[in-house]
């Protein structure tokens, strides 16, 4: 899969058999003053459509950095990354925004709901960013909220909801645009055991029902027990990436 020439990397070219995510020799450096932090040090990874993957490893191993790159909200320092057949580096900022809106759903550890919007309005947001009509956005958002069991909370603002309910709204929001990929950064970290169990079950159900690819970063053993594939990171390198369950 890795294509190299003597003098360096050969850029990824679009192929019909491409995986949903293709990463080739990805490096990511951060500059803290004069110090260079090598967050990722040569990642090669393929993720197929419909996978349910956990990225795990100790703190500072590069999990969040890797998810940021896969979510097209950050750029690698070197290496090639293709999402759904699109070479990320070649996309403009606007094109990347469109890619995120159309193909990627995000679930954050802190839920990241817009506090001035109700549950329904939060879920409608990605559709309205895309330019969907009010009626279409409302119908779809209501349907997604129903799927996550929050049809009675559509008018509630985030501050009137529990952590579990907020995370369910975030899941509905991540799914409302029918993305091919959902990225979740520590989605159960702020939740109690029972709520975490419900959230994990919900994500698993959506993965199985809709065939959406899920990629998590997590330390949560409850979640790790549920995934089909584990990618273990240490010091910015994949030390175990092929294990499938």
């Amino acid at each position: 899969m890795i294509r190299r020439k003597k003098d360096g990397l050969q850029p990824l070219k679009r192929r019909d058999d491409m995986a949903l995510i293709e990463m080739q020799c990805i490096k990511k450096d951060y500059f803290l003053g004069e110090t260079v932090v090598h967050a990722l040090q040569g990642i090669d990874l393929q993720i197929e459509k419909g996978e349910f993957i956990a990225i795990w490893g100790p703190s500072g191993s590069g999990k969040t950095t890797l998810l940021n790159l896969i979510g097209a909200i950050d750029e690698p320092t070197t290496g090639d990354l293709a999402i759904a057949g699109k070479e990320v580096r070649s996309l403009s900022d606007n094109e990347r925004s469109e890619l995120r809106n159309e193909a990627i759903g995000f679930i954050f550890q802190g839920f990241n709901l817009i506090p001035v919007l109700s549950a329904l309005e939060n879920v409608m947001l990605p559709l309205q960013i895309r330019g969907a009509s009010l009626g279409e956005a409302k119908a779809k958002a209501l349907s997604r909220l129903q799927e996550v069991g929050l049809s009675e909370f559509v008018r509630h603002r985030p501050f009137k909801m529990s952590g579990g309910q907020q995370q369910r709204v975030a899941i509905a929001r991540a799914f409302v645009n029918d993305p091919s990929l959902v990225i979740a950064d520590e989605p159960t970290a702020n939740l109690d055991t029972e709520t975490a169990r419900i959230i994990i079950g919900l994500m698993r159900e959506l993965n199985e029902k809709e065939g959406t690819t899920f990629i998590f970063s997590t330390h949560d053993q409850r979640l790790l027990d549920q995934v089909r594939r584990l990618v273990r990171l240490e010091d910015g390198r994949i030390v175990d990436g092929g294990m499938k369950r």
Partner: protein
């Protein structure tokens, strides 16, 4: 669009105290400008009416070509003959915007009560035409006594301070003396028909009004110095000037024309001064509005950095983030202007109810303090402040849009 507007309004209401202070700053600024604009609007109206009707300048004054430069040196050469007056009057009054055209002549000399003498400046006018020019202004500054009368050509009107110096009251007699156009001394008896207030300290002790026939007799001439034209509306002054100049030139009449504001130096200077004050005030308010909005929106960007990151992650483009914050600035301007309108109408109603008066410098009597309610000006000012707030918000909005998504999401 409505969705984003709703989001903008809710975001503004998020920090109520800060938004309220900004709205109040915009509202008070709006009120200061609009009240001053309403005050100057009324003052300009008063000064305009005072010049056109009070001073009797009409809207346009026609002189024979060369009068303004050399008329005082050789008056007869640069005055209109009776035939010319008739011809001009006929041509001018053909225009439907023209109410009347009337000849006038100025006389300067000495007026005496038989014991004391002092200088005077008098306008010789056609009494009937003068009444038309005065119109409703006559009610504002009424003439004590009967006023000018065609049937009594030697009857004159005297300004109030001049009348007081010479102890001239309506019905009393006096003498006026001047040199005729040919340079001979001439004196004639007068009878005071009326005493009036010119409105200005500078002229209240020397102005008089004669009938045109009397002024011509005193100067020993049948000619007229100028022809004053009264129009339906002051707004058409420039248009009619151009039209009449062309028309009279084609008719072979060499003339020059001045508008009421060119002749009323007082109006021009006061207007210039108040326009300057208005610009000064507007600039101060502009700075306050811009700084308040930039501060509020800057704080909002800082507080909502994580939210901006979330919106960007969900696919909102940089332009969308800019637009959202700019819209919030615009909404601040809109609501601030609404507060301003409410304050303006409240102050306007209080002033209207209490009818305060004041005496401006150089003016002989107190005048009412009136603030006009000018809806057109309020709308323009409102649009002005909305766009100003919107543009002021663009600076922090652009900063928000340029933020790195990862950094924004990690902001605490």
């Amino acid at each position: 669009m409505i969705k984003w507007m709703t989001l903008a309004i809710r975001n503004i209401l998020r920090n109520k105290r800060r938004s309220f202070v900004t709205l109040l700053a915009i509202g008070v600024g709006f009120t200061a400008i609009s009240l001053f604009r309403g005050y100057t609007s009324n003052m300009y109206w008063g000064l305009r009416e005072s010049a056109i009707r009070g001073e009797g300048l009409g809207h346009l004054t026609i002189y024979k070509a060369g009068w303004l430069e050399k008329g005082k040196l050789d008056p007869e050469r640069y005055m209109f003959s009776r035939a010319e007056v008739d011809k001009i009057t006929k041509l001018v009054t053909e225009e439907k915007e023209v109410i009347l055209a009337t000849p006038q002549i100025q006389v300067t000399g000495i007026v005496s009560n038989g014991i004391t003498s002092t200088i005077f400046i008098a306008q010789g006018v056609v009494p009937q035409d003068d009444r038309t020019i005065k119109g409703a202004w006559a009610d504002f500054r009424p003439v004590k006594g009967g006023g000018l009368n065609e049937k009594k050509p030697y009857g004159v009107e005297v300004t109030q301070d001049l009348a007081r110096y010479l102890n001239l009251t309506p019905g009393k007699d006096g003498v006026v003396m001047t040199t005729t156009l040919s340079g001979q001394m001439n004196a004639m008896d007068i009878q005071v028909m009326g005493v009036y207030d010119s409105g200005s300290d500078a002229t209240n002790d020397k102005y008089m009004r004669f009938t045109s026939d009397f002024a011509q007799s005193l100067l020993d001439t049948k000619m007229a110095e100028r022809i004053v034209v009264l129009l339906n509306s002051w707004e058409s002054t420039e248009k009619i000037r151009a039209l009449l100049l062309t028309k009279l030139t084609h008719a072979g009449i060499a003339c020059e024309m001045k508008t009421w504001n060119e002749l009323s130096l007082f109006y021009s200077k006061v207007r210039g001064m108040f326009d300057m004050i208005f610009m000064f005030l507007f600039s101060i308010v502009l700075v306050i509005v811009v700084m308040s909005t930039v501060n509020t929106m800057g704080m909002a960007v800082l507080e909502r950095t994580r939210e901006i990151g979330t919106l960007r992650a969900l696919g909102l483009k940089r332009r969308g983030v800019s637009l959202l914050f700019a819209m919030e600035g615009g909404v601040l301007g809109l609501f601030g202007s609404f507060i301003g309108v409410v304050l303006h109408v409240s102050v306007w109603a209080i002033i209207r109810a209490s009818s305060p008066t004041y005496t401006p410098p150089g003016i002989s009597t107190p005048v009412p303090l009136v603030v006009d309610l000018v809806p057109q000006a309020l709308v323009v000012l409102m649009l002005c402040l909305i766009f100003l707030s919107l543009f002021a918000a663009i600076i922090p909005a652009r900063r928000a849009a340029k933020q790195n998504v990862v950094d924004a999401l990690g902001h605490v």
